[in-house]
């Protein structure tokens, strides 16, 4: 395993970051969307090519590292979560609220990762504004070349969704 001067691995995702993100997804879905979510599996494979109907993407960067978080949902899963967030039935969620709600979810999850990275390093990490990708069955494979990555697959009420984490320390 290659390490930088601070002893951080430059070719693998830090276990603490993965833990923070896992807890953040569960907490955001639980406290704000009233939905219990469980981690189904962690997949570090290039051969794994999950698809989604709506994805929220956010960049994270700091003095010691940079990365990208992508939360991808099927439309029914996204409608369920955004509906619970708003206290509305999933079938009443309009496209605009769906995109905005998924953007806010990825923003809150990323905020947790940013706080953890900042407090560990003693420097401030920054987040980009969230971007939304919408289109039935799009593949979630975009990532910087040679950047360590992982897929966290979550389950809730018969649906699943994926968080792709790419992050490298310098």
């Amino acid at each position: 395993m290659m390490m930088n001067a601070a002893g951080q691995s430059t070719n693998a995702i830090d276990a603490k970051l993965v833990n923070t993100l896992m807890k953040a997804v569960m907490e955001v879905c639980g406290t704000m969307a009233g939905t219990q979510v469980t981690l189904k599996e962690v997949v570090p494979s290039l051969d794994y090519k999950p698809t989604g109907d709506i994805s929220g993407v956010i960049g994270i960067s700091g003095d010691y590292g940079e990365g990208m978080l992508t939360l991808s949902f099927t439309e029914p899963m996204a409608a369920l979560l955004v509906g619970r967030l708003l206290g509305m039935p999933p079938e009443e969620i309009c496209s605009e609220d769906m995109c905005d709600g998924i953007g806010e979810l990825v923003n809150i999850v990323s905020g947790r990762a940013k706080t953890s990275l900042s407090e560990d390093s003693g420097t401030l990490y920054r987040l980009s504004l969230p971007s939304i990708i919408k289109g039935p069955g799009h593949e979630i494979t975009g990532r910087p070349k040679n950047c360590p990555f992982l897929f966290l697959v979550f389950e809730a009420e018969g649906h699943s969704f994926v968080l792709q984490v790419t992050f490298r320390y310098f």
Binding site: E27, V28, T31, M32, V82, L85, L86, G87, E96, D97, D100, G101, G103, E104, N107, I108, S110, G111, R112, K114, T115, S118, E119, L124, L127, L129
Partner: protein, 124 residues
Amino acid sequence: MMKVLIVDDSAVMRKVIIRELLKIGVEQANIQEAPDGLVGLEVASKNAFDLILMDWNMPGMLGIDVVRQLRGAGITTPIMMVTTEGEKTNVVTAIQAGANNYLVKPFTPEDFAAKVAQSTAVKV
């Protein structure tokens, strides 16, 4: 009757906050929304509120800069940051800028109600 201004670029988050405000007895007619910092600054400068709920990261003008401008203009309305910015250094920055309280997303309805009560109990 408490008058509240919500400054947040996410329409969904504004709706979530409105729902929580309604639960604690704030009337819909007394809630105003601003979709970014610039509009928030204008609305807060021209109208009287009992509480301003301020996001941090917004396009156009950051919430923290809106807080600084409002305090610079002598506006003493209690301001509570409602943000994903959870670092201690950001909390300190916000308080130094003139915010009265700080709530990190995600929050529970109980956290929200308690922080609103705290925020409106003290004026700067």
